[in-house]
Symmetry: C2
Subunit: 137 residues, 2 copies
C-alpha cells in the first residue's frame, strides 16, 4: 500500500495511477468519446456519478452520458489538484479537486468539483471503474 | 471480480463487503465514535468527504469530524439502497443511496445522500479507507 503525501516523491505505482487519472481528464478536456473508451473498464461493474446526477451503472449507460456531455460542451479546461492517491494490490484510487473553466451550452463558467476516481489494473493498464464527482467545497 | 446485480444472489465476498458497509451505517446511526473506530482504516491514507465539505485526509482529522457530527446530532436513521458493490482482490467498494431521517441541531429533516465507500481487506476484516458522500439526486 502506498499513499501520496506532499513530503515524499511519488512511487512508480502512484505515478502510473496518476497518469491513468490524467488520461481521464485529457479525454474529458478533449471532449473525445474514443479517448474515453480507452480510459474506462467497459463492463457492467463501471459506475459514474456526474455532479448532481443520479449514479449510472454499466459502461453503455456511462458512455451515453459522456456523449451527451461532450455534445453540449464547447470548451472544458481542467486544473487538477491531488488530495490523495492510494494503490492497494490491483486497485487504486485518487481524490482530486477539478478546477474547471467551461463553456456549456454557450455559457462560460469557472467552478470546482471534488472527484474520487477508482481504477483497476488490467492487462491493458489501469482502467477507471468508478467516478464519483460532486460540487466542490 | 464480482459485481452486485439484482438478478443474482450476493457472493460470500459481496456479502462480507456489504456487512462492513452496514457496520459503518450502524456506527453512524448509533452516533458512536468507538464503533466508528472499528470501521475505519486508522491511517494517513484514510479519506472522507462529508456532503458539501472539503475532503479530509488522515484518520485523526476524520475522527474529529465524526465526533463533531455526533455531538450536533440527536437522531440519524438510515435506509440504505445499494447501487453497486464490487470486490477486486483485497479492495472493495459500494455506491449506495443513504435515505436519512435526522435531527441535527434540533431540526428534523429527511434527505438523500449518494455515497461511494471504499474498503480494504485487513487481518481484522474489511476496513473503510475512503468515504465520498454528496447530496443525492
Amino acid at each position: 500500500m502506498q499513499a501520496d503525501t506532499p513530503e515524499q516523491p511519488d512511487t512508480p505505482e502512484i505515478t502510473e495511477l496518476k497518469a491513468a487519472n490524467q488520461r481521464f481528464y485529457d479525454a474529458f478536456g478533449a471532449l473525445d468519446i474514443e479517448m474515453m473508451d480507452d480510459v474506462w473498464d467497459q463492463s457492467e461493474k463501471a459506475m459514474c456519478v456526474h455532479p448532481g446526477w443520479p449514479a449510472l451503472m454499466d459502461w453503455e449507460m456511462i458512455r451515453q452520458s459522456w456523449d451527451r456531455i461532450f455534445q453540449n460542451t464547447s470548451l472544458m479546461l481542467f486544473n487538477i489538484r491531488y488530495i490523495n492517491a492510494v494503490v492497494v494490490g490491483d486497485c487504486g484510487w485518487v481524490t482530486c479537486t477539478e478546477n474547471i473553466s467551461s463553456v456549456l451550452q454557450g455559457t462560460a463558467s469557472n467552478f470546482g468539483i471534488l472527484a474520487t476516481n477508482i481504477f483497476m489494473r488490467t492487462p491493458e493498464g489501469w482502467r477507471m471503474i468508478a467516478h464519483h464527482a460532486s460540487p466542490g467545497a
